[in-house]
Amino acid sequence: MFTKLYAATWGEVGKAKEKGFFDFDLFSWMAWTWQTAAFFIFIALCITVMLIWEKKVPGGSPRKGILGLDTTRGDRLFVSLLGSAFIHLAWLGLVGSLLWIASIICVAYFIVVFKYV
């Protein structure tokens, strides 16, 4: 269907590119980039780690955390991921540059959530 694909940087817009090994017609419409793919692989890894963790220590280690909520590991992962999204958004809105600092804050946030929430 698409014998020619177009490159993904501004300098190369409009220039035809040879179809690469991973450019399947099946999902070329999804406009994948390696950055977003890495993000989803990270999410998939998180879920896989949770699965392995659950096999090793079944039951999800429920407890009442500092927020006064009954949480399991899955809840903690959800809180961490959603919180990280908001931390990144807040950083983008308030600071605007050096987004990796927000990512470092998120790592700390992950640890805090998994320890105390």
Binding site: F2, L5, Y6, S28, W32, F39, L69, L82, L92, G93
Partner: protein, 288 residues
């Protein structure tokens, strides 16, 4: 006796898994991909990084539509929840009135969104609509197609008309589940009507009310069809709530990147609110 372990039932989950993948996960992934890129159609994409997110977060247009959205949701909750409880309290508990009230109450809920919008549009038209014409004949300067205040009033009235019944039905179910013994005890203690409501009925309705608030919050926060048909987001942008603004950006202007970024921010807000309500409901569950 040893139980045989057979996990083959998990195969039955596969259809659901595939369905969710195609109608939720894959579109969501595509939105994430779009939100970092610029496109002019024809499958041509260029990397833009976090530019759209920054743009949306700092855009006055987004702040305005988010503000309108929260204002709208807050106002309709403020009206619908007390009104719903009040109606449920006055509904008959037995006799022929019960089915009549229940059917009357569920009617608005059964009408499709776009029909509700069209109905209210015609009903409120200042020249030929019953409401609009009557108001103008009484001397009120009412025109929802031109005056922002009137447009808001009409949109809120429409939503109250459409959805208060849901709160009524939920509250009614909550009220009906209260054992008569509670009322008898209240009567013996000489409790006033208000005290009975405050200390018996309201606590007993807590669960259903949390559910009602969650449902009404979500539905009104994601409202699209009714105001789209009624006002089309106008006059100007005054009733352009988040969804309407989002569709304008995505389909009207074909700004897929910014629209994708905006829908992700929208999605995160909805997720956060959902999570808060879920925890509230779980707490209610644990208490009872």
């Amino acid at each position: 006796m040893n139980k045989t372990i057979n996990q083959k039932a998990w195969y039955f989950v596969i259809p659901v898994f595939v369905l969710v993948a195609f109608n939720a996960a894959i579109p969501l992934m595509t939105v994430v991909n779009y939100s970092f890129q610029e496109t002019f159609g024809n499958n041509v994409f260029a990397w833009e990084g976090t530019r759209w997110f920054k743009q949306i977060l700092l855009s006055e247009r987004f702040h305005a539509s988010l503000g309108r959205q929260f204002a709208f949701t807050f106002i309709i909750l403020l009206i619908q929840i007390p009104l719903g409880i009040a109606i449920a309290l006055t509904m008959p508990k037995k006799g022929w009135g019960v089915p009549v009230c229940l059917i009357l109450m569920s009617m608005p809920l059964l009408i499709p969104w776009n029909v509700v919008g069209a109905m209210w549009n015609i009903f409120a038209l200042p020249d030929i609509g019953f409401l609009g014409h009557s108001l103008n004949a009484m001397g009120f300067d009412y025109n929802f197609t031109q005056q922002p205040g009137d447009a808001w009033l009409t949109t809120i009235l429409m939503d109250v008309w459409h959805w208060t019944s849901l709160v009524v039905l939920l509250s009614y179910a909550g009220l009906n589940s209260i054992q008569p013994a509670y009322y008898q005890a209240a009567e013996i203690d000489g409790a006033s009507r208000w005290a009975t409501f405050r200390y018996i009925e309201l606590p007993k309705m807590k669960k259903v009310l949390t559910l009602a608030i969650l449902l009404r919050f979500m539905d009104s926060f994601m409202i699209y069809t009714e105001p789209f048909v009624l006002t089309g987001g106008g006059p100007g942008n005054t009733t352009a709530f988040l969804s309407i603004d989002l569709v304008k950006m995505a389909l009207g202007q074909f700004d897929l990147g910014p629209a994708a970024a905006m829908s992700l921010i929208y999605f995160f807000i909805v997720l956060l609110v959902c999570w808060v309500f879920y925890n509230l409901m779980m707490k209610n569950e644990a208490q009872s």
